[in-house]
Amino acid sequence: MFTLIKKFITKFSEERYFHIKFKLILLNTLFSAIPLVIVITITYFFISQIVHDEFKNNLKWQMEETRHSLEFFISERISALTFLVNSYPDEYFSDEKKFSQLFFNFKKEFEGIIDMGIVDENGIQILYTGPYKLKGKDYSQTEWFKGMLLRTDYVTDVFLGYRKVPHFSIIIKKQSVYRDKFWLLRVSVNMDILQKFVSNLEIGTQDDAFLINKERILQTNSKLFGNVLEPLKLNNIRIETDKRSIIIHDIDLNKKQAYIAYVPIKGTPWILVTTICSKPYKKIPSFFTKEVTLISLLSIIITFIVITKSINTLVNRIEKADHEREIAIANAEHSDKLAAIGRLAAGVAHEINNPLAIINEKAGLMKDIIQYGDLAQNKDRFTQLIDSIQDSVTRCRTITHRLLSFSKKIDRGREDFDINEAIKEVVGFIEKEIQTKGINMIFNFQENLPKIITDKGQLQQVLLNIINNAVDAVEQGGTIDIKTVLLDTNHMEISIKDNGPGIPKDKLKRIFEPFYTTKKKGTGLGLYISYGIIKKLGGDIQVESEVGKGTIFKLKIPVNPELEEIK
């Protein structure tokens, strides 16, 4: 993968440009992705909150619906029974046949009714119609009977009773015209009807809905917390029975986050309870996450491609410009070398032409003597002239040897030598020019300097360049002061000071830049190359100048560069 990316990024690039590209692409892609990640994160939490709220609202709405249905179911039956009690003549509640007829009609209209009975003021069921034999049963000790002394209607908890089947009763009181006389109409309803109501809640398979009474006894079967009439197995959860509105709060159910919602059913002893463990609110965010992850990934890939393409183009242009610059510098360096060679050649030509002229004239004179005079008389003269010619040949040989030794030194690498001698050799090359200009050369050389170990040819190239500049800078009869001094055990300083016009500050800071020159015919590379050489030799080059007073170049050179390298 990395190789593929590298291939895609590099495309003809050198290693150093690949690193620039890689860093730029990585940084740009990262910075581009950050806002995207922030927006996605915020949106995710925002949507999660909305979905969560939506889930709670939906649960509330379903609970409300079920509560209303249950309340309606109960109130409808209470109203119907109250209507029966108050509208039908008393014989319907004393005559067994008519009572049975009434029950039959009522059961036909109202679902879930099991049986019907009349209980007198003593708690004895005096009339009964239904599948069980419950006539004559005493209910005087039951909760509901006691409760009916003060109330006109009553809905009981789910209980087993005499029949031993879970059911609940709705009881309506008929007050007699005589004081303290009453009878009760009791209708039993199958518990299954309640189960049906709670089953209508649209909940998940891991979720549960059931009814409990205020004593936390299950009034319907529960999937998770026990069967009907068993105590609710959810002891650590507090359920507030006095609240009228729907309460939702999160609970820890078997170490899992869950929600519990509950609401009391008005006019009954029941509380509708729902527990949600399935986390339906998590489904939409995960869907959102998938979609958004895909889109984000796609965006990042597109961003990466665009950034890579643009950075590729940009860096390729820089690379091309760098190459062009390198070629230009190489060409200019070549031109500078040619110019230096030209200058050197001019100096050498002058140096050699003088002795050549002497040879020419002496030889010519010898020829003249032969032609115009007596050869025998001029024997001594001839010897003198031949000596003079030989002297001039020696002079030429010295010059050519010096030149050859200089050219050989350029590629010789490190060697140990006397720095003062090396400086004098350099000055020797331009001696004639110095002489012509009447320049006063002052040598302040520290004596007994240690031998320096460095590339002599390259150092002399730098010295030649700087001394040449000084010669160019000074006026006729100017002064150049060359000083050597040992700074510490491993460093010496060569300073070349001239009393030329000096360099203004704005120009001074640019003199080591390539192609910057203050001379009419300069290439602007002499000091640039010199700076590079000195740095390569492990030294440093500094320049100070004052307009009207002159310029001083200070070269700090390590005596033994190997000691520096060890450091």
Partner: protein, 126 residues
């Protein structure tokens, strides 16, 4: 016939002595000096032609040329130098030098230049 007076100014004494002798052998009244200060003494005698080296120890050759022309503009000066710097050649010709020769010089060529220079001086004096 009056001999042509030639003054040679060059810092190379060996060259000056040989050239002086050779030109003398060719019938010229030749004087040789190695610096401008000595040359001044002979300039008062108004030489016909001066053979002048461009690089002197005490004064730049171009400056010497100007001085000679100040003394007597009819004196013809043949410049002599070790290298053919175009800028110096042009400058010296502008300052009134008769010609410019690069060392080493062929004696016959020099004699020919001297003769032409002498004619020019004579014309200038008329």
């Amino acid at each position: 016939m009056k001999k042509t007076k030639i003054l040679i100014i060059d810092d190379e004494s060996e060259l000056v002595s040989a050239l002086t002798e050779r030109l003398t052998l060719r019938g010229y009244n030749t004087f040789g000096v190695t610096n401008f200060a000595d040359g001044l003494k002979f300039l008062n005698k108004i030489p016909d032609v001066v053979i002048l080296d461009i690089g002197l120890p005490d004064m730049d050759g171009l400056e010497v040329l100007k001085k000679i022309k100040e003394i007597n503009s009819s004196i013809q000066v043949i410049m002599l130098s070790g290298y053919g710097d175009d800028e110096k050649v042009n400058k010296s010709l502008n300052y009134g030098a008769f010609d410019y020769l690069i060392k080493p010089v062929d004696i016959e060529e020099l004699v020919s230049k001297i003769e032409t220079a002498k004619l020019k001086k004579e014309e200038a004096e008329k």
